[in-house]
């Protein structure tokens, strides 16, 4: 373990640590709102380390969804990690399987982007990646706990718009996902299908059903576009 390399990675991750501060605080506040204790919020931030996944999970917990629906939805929204992990794979071939499974734990949208940008210039280094991954993770955990602790001290916290933190978060995450017209179409179709199903059912199946249908429509649109251009 090289301390200098680890610290170099840690230094690179400072902007991410700062970025996770308000998000972690917001997660803590929302988690507290939805009935989690301070240390439960921190524990979830330790084990899951996924902003979007955790916001969805606590939102659905508060809304009374079942455990399996919550986990399946979280898994689906984080399917992008499959892509992140797969695209890092060719760069980490020299690392042991154990090291690979440890650095994989810290993959988020932000740490992935930072790590990948480094791979262009130099070979992947275990200690550097650990530095990039661990410091934002610590920031995420600590701020989640702080947010939950402070949030529970403020009465009627929804007066300050906290009840819109979750939708606002999803709006931002969605906008970041929209890279082309087909993705935009997929998101809109999914939203319409989901709302339609939600009006007719009450079991929480609308999210998963709409996702599968809309993503499949997206693949069909891609294939149509490919045929029309080739």
């Amino acid at each position: 373990m090289s301390r200098a390399t680890f610290l170099a990675g840690a230094k690179k991750s400072i902007p991410i640590m700062l970025g996770y501060t308000p998000l972690g605080l917001a997660f803590g506040v929302v988690a507290r709102e939805q009935g989690l204790a301070v240390w439960q919020a921190a524990l979830m931030s330790l084990t899951a380390f996924s902003g979007s996944g955790q916001f969805i999970a606590v939102g659905m917990l508060g809304a009374g969804f079942g455990v399996s629906a919550i986990l399946l939805t979280t898994f689906l929204v984080n399917l992008r990690y499959l892509l992140f992990s797969a695209s890092m794979a060719p760069h980490v071939g020299k690392l042991s399987t154990l090291a690979q499974s440890i650095v994989a734990f810290g993959i988020t949208d932000e740490t992935f982007t930072l790590n990948m940008s480094g791979f262009d210039r130099q070979a992947a280094d275990r200690d550097f990646i650990l530095g990039v991954n661990i410091c934002p993770h610590l920031s995420w955990i600590i701020n989640s706990a702080l947010g939950a602790a402070v949030g529970s001290m403020i009465p009627d916290i929804n007066r300050y718009g906290v009840n819109f933190a979750l939708p606002a978060m999803f709006i931002a995450l969605l906008v970041m996902q929209i890279k082309d017209r087909i993705t935009l179409a997929v998101a809109v179709i999914s939203g319409l299908i989901s709302t339609g199903i939600a009006l007719l059912t009450t079991n929480g199946s609308h999210i998963i059903a709409a996702t599968v249908i809309a993503a499949t429509i997206g693949v069909i649109l891609c294939q149509c576009r490919q045929k029309s251009t080739s």
Binding site: A26, A48, L76, V103, A104, G161, L173, T195, G218
Partner: protein
């Protein structure tokens, strides 16, 4: 409720760790077919759309498309800021500020 919270926390570990770990360790040796890559690529946008639309169009479980729906109205400035800045933090602040003003 407590058992449920712990089940979710435990499950969240698996649901978030496995997709991060398995491709790096296992799938790196295989070639994923293009349509599957596309499908996986659309899933995040589709899930987010599917969660977001009902939460702002039907906050009280019934469809409410009107100026009286604070969630729908607050979504407008949040969306604008999100498109302009691509920043989680600014979008969060804009949306919460709008909601706080609407409820004032």
């Amino acid at each position: 409720m407590q058992t449920k919270i712990y089940l979710v926390i435990l499950g969240m570990w698996a649901a978030n760790y496995l997709p991060r770990m398995l491709p790096m360790v296992v799938l790196s040796k295989l070639k994923i077919p293009q349509p599957v890559i596309w499908w996986l690529g659309f899933v995040p946008a589709a899930v987010l759309g599917a969660i977001l639309a009902p939460s702002i169009l039907m906050p009280d479980k019934t469809l409410l498309i009107s100026w009286h729906n604070n969630y729908l109205v607050a979504a407008a400035p949040a969306l604008l800021v999100a498109v302009k800045t691509h920043s989680l933090v600014w979008t969060l602040l804009a949306g919460m500020l709008a909601m706080a003003l609407l409820q004032y």
